[in-house]
C-alpha cells in the first residue's frame, strides 16, 4: 500500500499509510477499537476503495488490474456465512464459485479447525465459537496467498485458540502472508513476526507485546 488515505463521513480512517508486506510472514495489527484495523483490511482486500493511494500485488494494481485480491482468505468481525446451510454446504458453495478445490480439501479444512464436516446442523444453530472456526476454515481452505484475520480467537475456548494459533503458524510456514488484528496481546506475541500499531488511521511499528 502506497500513500493510502481513506475518509468516511468526514472522519479520516487511514492516513498516508505506506506498507510493504511479504509472504511467509505474520503481521500483527494492534490498536484501539475504531482505530482503523478492520478498514485497513477491507482496503487491502479490495472491499473498499482508497480515496488516494494505491495497493499493488506483484506489480498489479488493485481496482485497476483486479477488483479483489485474487487469492484471499478473510475473516472480518462478522463470519458472514449462510445461516440456513450446514457448515459443509456453506464452504462447498463458496468453493464452487472458484472451482479451485474439491470436496476433499473442504472436509480437510473443516477438520483442521476442529469441526465435524458431517455435522448436519445449520450454520445458524452453531455456537459463536463454532461460527468463528468455520469462518477460519473457509479462509484457509483454498490455501490462499493472503490471509486476513480480524480477531480470529474471539469467542473461542482454550482448545480453539490453540488450534487457530497452530493453523496461523502452519499457513505462515506454507508461505502465506497473514495479517492478524487482535486485542489479545498473547495472540500477537505468540504469532506475529512483525507488529504494527494503528492509531487514528496512522500505522507505525510497535514492539511485540506492546
Amino acid at each position: 500500500m502506497e500513500n493510502g488515505n481513506k475518509t468516511i463521513r468526514g472522519r479520516r480512517i487511514l492516513c498516508d499509510v505506506n506498507l510493504e508486506l511479504y509472504g511467509g510472514t505474520v503481521y500483527g495489527f494492534i490498536g484501539r477499537n475504531g482505530s482503523g484495523k478492520t478498514m485497513l483490511f477491507r482496503a487491502l482486500s479490495g472491499l473498499i476503495r482508497l480515496d488516494s493511494g494505491t495497493i499493488s500485488l506483484d506489480g498489479q494494481v488493485l481496482h485497476r488490474d483486479f477488483s479483489v485480491l485474487p487469492s484471499l482468505g478473510i475473516v472480518l468481525e462478522n463470519a458472514g456465512l449462510y445461516p440456513d446451510l450446514t457448515g459443509l454446504e456453506n464452504l462447498k458453495y463458496l468453493a464452487r464459485l472458484t472451482r479451485r478445490i474439491g470436496a476433499g480439501e473442504i472436509r480437510e479444512a473443516i477438520c483442521r479447525v476442529g469441526l465435524d464436516p458431517d455435522d448436519r446442523r445449520a450454520y445458524g444453530k452453531y455456537s459463536l465459537g463454532m461460527k468463528q472456526r468455520l469462518a477460519i476454515a473457509q479462509a484457509i481452505m483454498e490455501t490462499p496467498d493472503v490471509i486476513m484475520l480480524d480477531e480470529p480467537t474471539n469467542a473461542l475456548d482454550e482448545t480453539g485458540v490453540e488450534d487457530i494459533r497452530r493453523i496461523v503458524l502452519e499457513e505462515r510456514d506454507r508461505g502465506a502472508l497473514v495479517l492478524l488484528a487482535s486485542h489479545n496481546k498473547e495472540d500477537i506475541r505468540v504469532l506475529s513476526d512483525y507488529v504494527l500499531r494503528i492509531e487514528k488511521g496512522y500505522v507505525s511499528e510497535a514492539e511485540v507485546g506492546g
Partner: protein, 359 residues
C-alpha cells in the same frame, strides 16, 4: 510519511512461490479443466449464484407466502371467470370468437378478473422476491464473504435479478396454464391457436411487469440499509402508481385543460383533457400493464387512444388480428421492458459503486 517494510528473506519468498504453485496444482482436482476462459468462468460463477439464489428462495418461508398469493390470484380469477362467463356472453358485450380468453378478463360478483388481480397484486410478487436482496446479505455479513471471492461483483446482482425473474416466470406461467387447463375442463372451451398465442404474450407481459417491480425492489434493497425500509419504500411506490397517479393525472389534466364552465371552451378542451390524462396515466407501470393486457386479451379493443366520431364513422366492426393488437400495445411492451431495464441499471450502478463495509 514512513514506509513500513517487513523483512523478507529468500526462504520466505521461495515458500511463497511454492505455496502459489501448490494452489494452482490443486485447481485441477475435483473441478475438471484447470485452464478456463474468462467467459466460461463468468458463466460458471453466474450459474452457481443463480442456482443458490433460486434454491434459497424456494426453500425459504417466504415461498409459502408467495405461493399463497399466486394461488389467491389464480383461484379468485378463475372463480370470477367461471361465474361471470355466461353473463358476459348473454350480455352480448363480448367477442364470442375468443371465449377462452374471457377466463382471464371476466369479473363477477365484485371479484376482479385474473387480469385485474395480476395488475394489482403482481407487483407484490416482485417486491417479495427483491426487497431484501442486497441489504439482508449486507446485514448478515454474507456480502462481505461473497465479494471477497475472486469474482466480478456485478454477477451477484445480475444473478439475483435473473433468479427472481425466473421464479416469477415459473409462477406466472404455472398460474396461467392452470387457469387455462382447469377452464378448459370446466367450460369445455377449446382455445384456438390465436388464443394460445395471445395468452402466451399476455403471460410474457405479466413476467415483464413483475420484473419491473423486482428491479425496483432490488434498487431499494441496494440503497436502503434495512429490509423493512426497502419493503415500505416499494409498497409506497406501488400505492403511488396504482392509486395516486390516476388521481393526480385527473387533477393535472383538469388544471391544464378545464372542461367545466364555458361550454365552448369545455368542448374544445375535452379531447385535450382526455389525452393529457391518458398520457399522464401511462407514466404508471400499473396503467401501462392494465391497458396492454386488456388489449392483448380482448381482440375487440380496436383503439387505445381517444377516437373521434369522424374516425369511427365507416369503421367495420370486427376483431383485430393478433398482429394488429400487438401493434397497438408495442409501445407499452417496449416501455415496460425499458422501465424494468432502466430501474435495474440504476440498482446495478448503485451496487457497483457501493463499498462493502459495516454501517
Amino acid at each position: 510519511m514512513q514506509t513500513i517494510k517487513a523483512p523478507a528473506d529468500s526462504r520466505v519468498k521461495e515458500l511463497a512461490r511454492e505455496g502459489g504453485s501448490r494452489r494452482e496444482d490443486a485447481g485441477g482436482e475435483g473441478t475438471g479443466s484447470r485452464v478456463q476462459s474468462e467467459g466460461n468462468r463468468r458463466y460458471h460463477v453466474r450459474k452457481v449464484l443463480f442456482q443458490k439464489e433460486t434454491a434459497e428462495f424456494i426453500n425459504s418461508r417466504r415461498m409459502i407466502l408467495f405461493v399463497v398469493l399466486t394461488a389467491l390470484i389464480t383461484v379468485s380469477g378463475f372463480y370470477a371467470a367461471v361465474s361471470g362467463l355466461a353473463e358476459a356472453i348473454e350480455g352480448g358485450n363480448t367477442a364470442t370468437d375468443f371465449l377462452f380468453l374471457k377466463l382471464f378478463t371476466v369479473s363477477a360478483n365484485s371479484i376482479p378478473s385474473y387480469n385485474s388481480l395480476m395488475a394489482l397484486m403482481g407487483p407484490f410478487i416482485g417486491i417479495f422476491m427483491g426487497f431484501d436482496a442486497i441489504n439482508s446479505e449486507r446485514t448478515e455479513g454474507t456480502l462481505n464473504r461473497l465479494v471477497s471471492q475472486p469474482l466480478y461483483r456485478d454477477q451477484i446482482i445480475i444473478s439475483k435479478f435473473l433468479a427472481g425473474l425466473f421464479i416469477s416466470a415459473v409462477m406466472v406461467f404455472a398460474s396461467g396454464l392452470l387457469i387455462g387447463s382447469v377452464g378448459l375442463i370446466a367450460t369445455g372451451l377449446i382455445p384456438s391457436g390465436e388464443e394460445v398465442a395471445r395468452l402466451f404474450i399476455y403471460l410474457c407481459f405479466c413476467v415483464i411487469y413483475i420484473g419491473f417491480w423486482l428491479a425496483a425492489a432490488i434498487l431499494f434493497s441496494t440503497i436502503c440499509r434495512h429490509a423493512a425500509t426497502s419493503a415500505l419504500a416499494c409498497i409506497a411506490v406501488w400505492l403511488f402508481c396504482a392509486i395516486f397517479v390516476s388521481l393526480l393525472a385527473g387533477i393535472i389534466a383538469d388544471a391544464l385543460y378545464p372542461v367545466n364552465g364555458n361550454e365552448m371552451q369545455a368542448m374544445m378542451n375535452e379531447m385535450k383533457n382526455y389525452s393529457c390524462e391518458l398520457n399522464l396515466n401511462r407514466i404508471s407501470p400499473y396503467y401501462l400493464f392494465a391497458e396492454a393486457a386488456s388489449t392483448v386479451l380482448n381482440p375487440g379493443v380496436r383503439a387505445i387512444n381517444a377516437v373521434t366520431i369522424a374516425q369511427l364513422s365507416g369503421a367495420i366492426s370486427s376483431n383485430l388480428t393478433l398482429g394488429q393488437s400487438l401493434l397497438l400495445v408495442w409501445p407499452h411492451l417496449t416501455g415496460l421492458a425499458a422501465l424494468m431495464l432502466v430501474v435495474f441499471a440504476i440498482s446495478y450502478v448503485s451496487f457497483m459503486r457501493q463499498e462493502i463495509r459495516s454501517r
